[in-house]
């Protein structure tokens, strides 16, 4: 298991591994939005939580199809399926590797980009907390979508269509935490819902994804 995590991280950080793809996208989005919306600080502060969360979501979506497609193409997925580690574990590890290479950099970069969007000072802490709690759900749900579409040629569009509706609850509660945090309202309820979505999907979806993989490998 640890060997698989180490391999996936090594692959992501080497040339052409796709690390930085999501981060670059996030950066571009946060830079372009103030240029498109205009420099009015109050408008920017109003939309900042939503933009940051939408950006994080789309950035994480960008690299989803790599989770299983690359291993499927070079035959590693067949060999992993016949290896002594359970396929559920393979899915969980690959989702974790995706989170470390995509979600975690977003969490680190988000406060910096919050400055560009004139995010309210009180919201920075909640932005980090909500992304830290919410982005793992994006990776796990995405791994499930990637498992469903593995083996399909140009499955990226289908993957987006399948995964985006599943991302909506995470987006709503994640952005709500930041919006409430910005104006000093209590954030416990959306934060708990966000944590519940992450915990629930991390507990259940690896099993569903492993089942989908087995069907797709036939």
């Amino acid at each position: 298991m640890i060997a698989l995590l180490a391999r996936d991280l090594k692959l992501a950080f080497r040339a052409g591994g796709g690390f930085g793809l999501g981060l670059g996208f996030f950066l571009i989005l946060a830079v372009l939005v103030p240029l498109g919306v205009g420099p009015e600080p109050r408008t920017l502060a109003l939309i900042a939580p939503g933009i940051l969360w939408v950006g994080a979501l789309l950035a994480s979506l960008l690299s989803l199809d790599r989770i299983f497609a690359l291993d499927f193409e070079d035959g590693s997925l067949d060999l992993l399926a016949t290896a002594p580690i359970p396929l559920e574990g393979v899915v969980a590890i690959k989702a974790l590797a995706h989170w470390i290479t995509t979600g975690l950099p977003l969490v680190v970069a988000a406060p910096v980009l919050g400055v560009l969007l004139n995010l309210a000072p009180a919201a920075y802490g909640w932005l980090i907390v909500s992304l830290l709690i919410g982005t793992p759900a994006l990776s796990v749900i995405g791994a499930f979508g990637a498992a469903l579409t593995v083996g399909l040629k140009r499955g990226g569009l289908l993957l987006s269509l399948l995964v985006l509706p599943l991302y909506i609850p995470t987006l709503i509660y994640g952005a709500e935490v930041v919006i409430r945090g910005a104006v000093g309202l209590p954030v416990a309820t959306p934060l708990l819902f966000l944590a519940g979505i992450t915990a629930g999907s991390a507990a259940l979806l690896p099993f569903a994804a492993a089942l989908a993989l087995r069907v797709n490998l036939r």
């Binding site: 090594k10 692959l11 070079d74 067949d78 060999l79 399926a81 016949t82 490998l217 036939r218």
Partner: protein, 205 residues
């Protein structure tokens, strides 16, 4: 433990292509599967490896005892030869890749990335992976594709060494593998009659 297959029916895309397949593979034995293209050699091997379910029949040996090597070698292009092999050794919980490296004559290539290997060198690395799985039954699908004569001889020696230690090998191939002691099973007689089973719905297979 023997690998005994009785009355096995395998399907590709929901349609049975081989039926009534039966053979036994004892430790120390090698069996070569022959048959025309598309007759179901790969499907049979994937079924035995546990990658797809059989429509009917019994396989005596659990997939955990079987190491499968398909058409693709499962190599990561940006990892070196040693890193690729160490990964599979770690996944299978075995230690030491030196024996596998020297058996497939890969010692001079350990630090080269897999993307810079020739087709034959990749194949040799793919076959070396079998040695680090530590599993007794090897299922090989066209193992000697793109290998030169010297490498085929290396492969033959590796398989013989595996058989000598109580392993067994089942190989699908059209080419002479240089293993004169291997028995041959022709799959042509087992070809399934073209039909769909009663009440069979592929969506729920």
């Amino acid at each position: 433990m023997d690998l005994t297959v009785t009355d096995l029916t395998v399907a590709r895309g929901g349609v049975p292509i081989l039926e009534g397949v039966g053979f036994a593979l004892a430790p120390g034995a090698a069996l070569v599967l022959r048959g025309p293209n598309g007759c179901g050699k790969t499907t049979l091997l994937r079924t035995l490896a546990g990658l797809q379910p059989a429509l009917s029949g019994d396989i005596s040996c659990p997939p955990e005892a079987i190491a499968y090597a398909g058409h693709a070698d499962g190599l990561k292009a940006v990892l070196t030869v040693a890193e690729n092999l160490e990964f599979w050794a770690a996944i299978h919980g075995t230690h030491g890749i030196d024996a596998a490296l020297s058996a497939m004559n890969l010692n001079d290539l350990t630090d080269r990335q897999a993307q810079n290997l020739s087709a034959g060198q990749k194949r040799r690395l793919g076959l070396a992976r079998l040695m680090v799985t530590g599993r007794p039954f090897w299922l090989l699908d066209e193992p000697t594709v793109s290998l030169d004569t010297a490498s085929v001889a290396l492969f033959g020696a590796v398989v013989r060494a595996h058989l000598a230690t109580g392993g067994a090998a089942l190989m699908a191939s059209h080419i002479d593998l240089g293993l004169s002691e291997a028995a041959v099973l022709d799959l042509a007689p087992y070809r399934a009659a073209p039909r769909l089973p009663q009440g069979f719905d592929e969506a729920f297979a």
